[in-house]
Symmetry: C2
Subunit: 196 residues, 2 copies
């Protein structure tokens, strides 16, 4: 296929997407070229617009098109609570519960020394500055309950408690709607220790 360089380039470009290998990229390229030219134009434009417009909120670091994101610029949000999450997707999950009316700090990642992501790369300095602005009274650590998420929460928690702030962590326990028989032992053990 020596004369199909733009096809080959498209396959290579699609492989840059996370989770897309060479077979998937081929299938995507053939599908688009054969059946869905419109989507090629839509996707190309969406990529360019998002690249040009999306930046980080000056306060909470989530993606936004403005200087401040909608949550940070909403005066009805309680500025005394600051919820720390790893990603905008985690933030969106918490927002969907409608159970939290405070503000956020989005790490846009997690501590991962093996990948060279330490406190500096994660911008923890800015988080500490924000948390110590005199308005924030409670910092809620809502990083994931994975090894790296727990480590991130631990490091942030230690640093903020040393600065005299009230720091809480999302409760660990049995998920809603689940039967004990099928819940893993670590979760049950945590639920026992944290019983109320």
């Amino acid at each position: 296929m020596a004369d199909t360089s733009s096809l080959e380039q498209l396959i290579q470009a699609l492989r840059r997407l996370p989770g897309v290998g060479v077979k998937s990229a081929q299938r995507m390229a053939f599908h688009l070229l054969q059946h869905d030219r419109a989507s090629m134009r839509v996707l190309a434009q969406a990529l360019q617009e998002a690249d040009a417009r999306m930046r980080h909120c000056a306060l909470c670091h989530t993606f936004t098109e403005a200087e401040l994101c909608a949550t940070c610029s909403d005066p009805r949000r309680d500025a005394s609570q600051l919820c720390v999450v790893e990603t905008p997707a985690d933030q969106a999950a918490i927002e969907r519960t409608a159970a939290y009316r405070g503000r956020y700090f989005v790490l846009m990642g997690k501590l991962s020394p093996l990948d060279g992501i330490g406190p500096r790369e994660l911008g923890l300095g800015e988080l500490f500055e924000r948390a110590c602005d005199g308005v924030v009274r409670e910092v809620i650590l809502a990083t994931n309950f994975t090894a790296e998420g727990e480590a991130t929460a631990h490091v942030i928690g230690e640093a903020l408690r040393a600065r005299g702030l009230s720091v809480t962590r999302l409760a660990r326990g049995v998920p809603a709607g689940s039967e004990l028989e099928y819940v893993d032992l670590g979760t049950i053990a945590h639920a026992l220790v944290d019983r109320r």
Copy 2:
């Protein structure tokens, strides 16, 4: 996330790719925006270039940037053999064997009545015209050995044999390097019937 319309549009555009659901699209969008802005520009350009440049070879229907693809315009290829495949990926697989020096006709699909793809939509008329050009002596049916691929091969084979052409099908049998114990029964039965 009311002020993130270009992010939402990017996620929706990524979902148009085959095999990409809403979670994957979110993950791709966040990854690109956070870690790989360069790939956004590369992919956008690759999509636009492929859309603008790629068309179908006038002879064999595969993707090409020129009027004729490299295989069709290569005078060293044997014009008396015509191999019918479903997709450019299948053609590429056969080319990698280096066991075939004839020409191709790429269906760019298969008969699939449930999806409204009949002989007309598949361009079988053009295949029959090409096969009956007086130069082609043998048509090798190399559609997939799936139900739809077999049906497609059957329809094409019947039509071309009625026109007096020699039609062959890729051999069915035991894959190279496999142990009989682990080969499915249908394949062994075919290998017995087609023994030589």
